[in-house]
């Protein structure tokens, strides 16, 4: 008999501030009105998705020393808008990307536990780190963190947050009106933490939340990021690649789990994925090309080129050929974006492609950046998704639509029913919490004897 078919997990990424978000389309709605968030979240819930996902950016992106004005700009504070969404959804997980560098554990752990209460067990935290002084200019401590310490801080932050989440025993609240006992004070532990990044002592104000610990998501493909995810995360949000790349990444990350005494199913691998759907595969391909043209307008094409070449290219015609100029090897023009490791090599590769295929600047940028992960009819896309999941290249996907707020409508109407018919995607939620959707156990509460003790250091921490 064959093994049971692996179940697909799906999440919805709010399009928002992203160069894949198309804003010039007449169907494109507001990136800030609450109604846009409600539409996307309710669509995802109708499709029985695991969770809804919000990215974060704590400083407006800049290019050439000026605010980048070609992409969607402006977003809400993630946890606040997710709290509001908890009122208009019932089962959908609610995941916020929140920076571990420019927050403090006591406050953030408290806010995440609050969201878990207010959503009855649907909160998730995508832990990200930065160290740049550019973002730091909006915060008390500026660019205080050495780049090498990003993951040591994040790991310590998560460890301390979990100690705070564990510090109230689940039955600490007695609420016996006749006897006059509301709470057993001895069941509220005092957390004592004194380590490299944080010195914290005291009690949490939030009773143990429905999930015990909100779900931890970790984004990042680096070796350090993988190790951190293997030690600390419930979901890893990775980059999408080929089936073979996916299998290699999947095997590598799952292999690391044993070191931390964890089972393979305890960490879900969910790459980001874009898509274009059509009535037929050919129609979808046409639509995908059209979306790419919308995503890379003439000005955006030049801006992309400038980021790689590291110099002003505004004099060139985006619909004309790639000019014969060399990239600036040192100086970085862009801020708030991932810096390119090796300009010269990337530029050489781009030039080779442009010459081989005889492409204009805009065509080249379309060719070289952000092609859709899944293009095809609903049946084709469903089959591809299943290939990745059954082939152990992913446990599911975080889908990134290109339109706000209707970008997920077709997927939910057309692809989800096919996955359901194939028996690889839920038709109803099995339980009320995000941990239920992801098949994750509720962490065991701390023993009473352990309350009031210092936060233990793990046997092995990260890859440092």
């Amino acid at each position: 008999m064959s093994a049971p078919r692996r179940q697909v997990h799906l999440a919805a990424h709010f399009p928002g501030v992203n160069n894949t978000t198309v804003w010039a389309d007449p169907r494109s709605g507001s990136q800030i009105d609450f109604t846009s968030f409600v539409h996307l979240a309710r669509t995802a819930e109708r499709g029985r998705f695991d969770f809804f996902f919000l990215a974060e950016g704590l400083r407006l992106r800049e290019l050439k020393g000026r605010i980048h004005d070609l992409d969607v700009v402006g977003r809400p504070e993630s946890l606040t808008v997710l709290s509001a969404l908890a009122a208009v959804t019932d089962r959908l997980g609610l995941a916020a990307t929140v920076n571990a560098t420019f927050n403090e554990p006591y406050e953030l752990a408290r806010r995440l536990a609050t969201l878990d209460h207010l959503s009855e067990g649907r909160a998730a935290w995508n832990v990200v780190t930065t160290s740049d002084a550019f973002t730091g200019e909006n915060f008390r401590r500026g660019g205080f963190l050495d780049r090498a310490d990003r993951y040591t801080r994040a790991a310590e932050f998560v460890r301390l947050s979990r100690a705070l989440w564990d510090s109230w025993r689940p039955d600490a609240i007695v609420a016996d009106q006749a006897a006059g006992v509301f709470v057993r004070p001895q069941d509220i532990g005092t957390v004592r933490h004194d380590d490299r990044h944080f010195t914290v002592e005291g009690r949490s104000t939030v009773p143990r939340s429905p999930q015990g610990h909100p779900v931890i998501i970790q984004a990042g493909d680096s070796d350090e990021g993988r190790e951190f995810a293997a030690s600390s995360a419930d979901v890893i949000f990775s980059r999408h690649g080929t089936l073979e790349e996916g299998k290699a990444f999947y095997a590598d990350v799952k292999r690391r789990l044993a070191r931390y005494g964890r089972e393979p199913h305890e960490l879900k691998i969910m790459p980001a994925a874009t898509f274009a759907l059509g009535g037929t595969d050919a129609e979808a391909a046409e639509k995908a090309a059209e979306i790419r043209r919308q995503q890379v307008g003439p000005q955006t094409a030049i801006a992309f080129l400038e980021q790689i070449w590291g110099r002003d290219m505004s004099a060139y015609d985006p619909e004309g050929p790639l000019p014969d100029v060399d990239p600036e090897p040192e100086e970085g023009l862009s801020q708030g974006r991932v810096r390119l490791a090796d300009r010269t090599a990337v530029a050489a590769k781009w030039r080779a492609v442009a010459e081989e295929k005889n492409l204009t600047i805009r065509e080249l940028v379309i060719e070289m950046t952000g092609r859709q992960s899944f293009v095809g009819s609903a049946a084709t896309v469903a089959r591809r998704i299943e290939e990745f999941v059954q082939g152990e290249a992913a446990d599911g996907f975080i889908l990134v639509p290109h339109l706000t707020p209707g970008g997920l409508d077709d997927f939910v109407e057309e692809v989800v029913p096919i996955l359901q018919e194939r028996g690889v995607f839920r038709t109803e939620y099995a339980g009320p919490t995000l941990r239920d959707h992801l098949g994750l156990a509720v962490p065991r509460p701390a023993l009473r004897d352990h309350l009031g003790l210092a936060v233990p250091r793990p046997a092995r921490e990260g890859a440092s």
């Binding site: 969607v72 700009v73 504070e77 606040t80 009122a87 403090e104 000005q299």
Partner: protein
């Protein structure tokens, strides 16, 4: 002759302001941390057409001691983050203002500012922020970033308070600049030029203060109200009493215990320098309402083993008597009240179902919501961004 209507707010916290309120059989004490219970309270307040609710909060557990846990089992302990709680309630209400408490002492001004701006977006213009400082050593130890002596209310450290209030004023200034940092028409979606925003309408705020500096602009577009409402509770104990609210708030909550005290307080406040719209002065009162109010309070006192007292005046009596008192203090310059119900839901329902009709009979309270935003309910105009070019007007 018509009188100017009063403004009414209620302050929500736990099962009410009396520490034994959770033992009332009308309360299910297991529900205190659920959205369902809070939704019931806020919709009740909205049914009474109140201006706003405030939500108490602090970064440490409640305690009967001035600083540090008291190990008491018989009182409510635990609170959720108030800003998130307010956001959770926003989609369930339509008109009532939502004013969560957030401290300025250990938080990032940038995060608080975008949190309140987001609350304003999800509530379509009903957000406020009750600014609070954290003088306790207990709270400082939760962050490990500053040394603070234990709080002793008999010997307040005026230097520390001046420092914390100064920091609060800076945090409010940062928030307001961030709220203004996107002009209202910054988003242009101009297809021919490929520009989503007009970056000349996005502004660096370049704030530098003693405790922090913030560059800006905000990541969140301008809130629907332009600037959400800022409120401050002030007991007048600082070195310059009421200086913080006069400088930084739209509303000050004060705690007079008599009409004469109210007069003295409003006189002091009106004498302070002030820019912009006049500061609105709201008095706080803890209220136990009904024919049996005094007996009810006495019963709760007995359950708690102590007579309940408060920084604010404690009123026990009927809704009619309270209506008379509110109108009497209005003569002393009080424009609104933040009522702290002794026990919830009992005293909240007494406010919405008895006090409000009693005030209406006296021509002193609205019969319908007259505006869609909290600023509108308070009669405050929507301000232009400070960065808007005067020449383009």
């Amino acid at each position: 002759m018509t009188t100017v209507p009063l403004h009414l707010a209620v302050a929500l916290d736990g099962a009410g302001w009396h520490p034994a309120a959770w033992r009332d059989p009308a309360v299910d004490p297991r529900e205190l941390f659920t959205a369902r219970r809070w939704a019931g309270l806020v919709t009740e307040a909205e049914r009474g057409l109140l201006d706003f609710v405030t939500i108490e909060d602090a970064l440490s557990l409640q305690s009967t001691l001035p600083d540090g846990p008291d190990e008491r089992a018989g009182q409510v302990r635990g609170r959720l983050d108030a800003v998130l709680l307010a956001a959770r309630l926003a989609p369930l209400t339509k008109r009532i203002g939502l004013v969560p408490t957030a401290t300025t002492t250990h938080t990032e001004p940038f995060h608080v500012a975008i949190g309140i701006a987001t609350l304003d977006h999800v509530s379509a213009g009903r957000a406020g922020w009750r600014v609070q400082v954290s003088p306790r050593r207990t709270e400082a130890a939760h962050f490990g970033r500053r040394e603070v002596p234990p709080l002793d209310p008999r010997r307040l450290d005026t230097d520390l308070l001046a420092d914390l209030f100064g920091e609060a004023a800076d945090a409010v200034e940062v928030a307001r600049r961030l709220w203004d940092s996107w002009e209202d028409d910054a988003e242009i979606r101009d297809v021919p030029t490929g520009r989503f925003v007009d970056r000349d309408k996005l502004h660096y705020i370049d704030f530098t203060g003693a405790r922090f500096s913030v560059r800006g602009p905000s990541i969140t577009p301008r809130p629907p109200q332009g600037r959400p409402i800022v409120t401050v509770l002030d007991h007048g104990h600082s070195r310059v009493p009421y200086e913080l609210p006069a400088r930084s708030a739209d509303i000050v909550h004060v705690t007079p215990h008599s009409r004469a005290e109210a007069e003295a307080i409003t006189g002091r406040i009106r004498a302070l320098p002030r820019e912009g719209e006049p500061l609105k002065i709201f008095a706080d009162l803890v209220v136990f309402l009904g024919e049996d109010a005094a007996a009810r309070k006495a019963g709760l006192d007995e359950l708690d083993g102590a007579e309940f007292t408060s920084d604010a005046a404690v009123f026990t009596g009927t809704a009619e008597e309270l209506a008379d008192l509110l109108l009497d203090w209005r003569e002393a310059g009080i424009e609104g009240y933040r009522l702290r119900p002794g026990a919830v839901p009992h005293d909240l329902e007494a406010i919405t179902r008895r006090l409000v009709p009693a005030l209406r009979r006296r021509g002193a309270f609205r019969r319908e919501y007259e505006a869609a935003t909290l600023r509108g309910l308070l009669g405050l105009p929507r301000p232009d961004s400070r960065y808007r070019e005067a020449a383009t007007v």
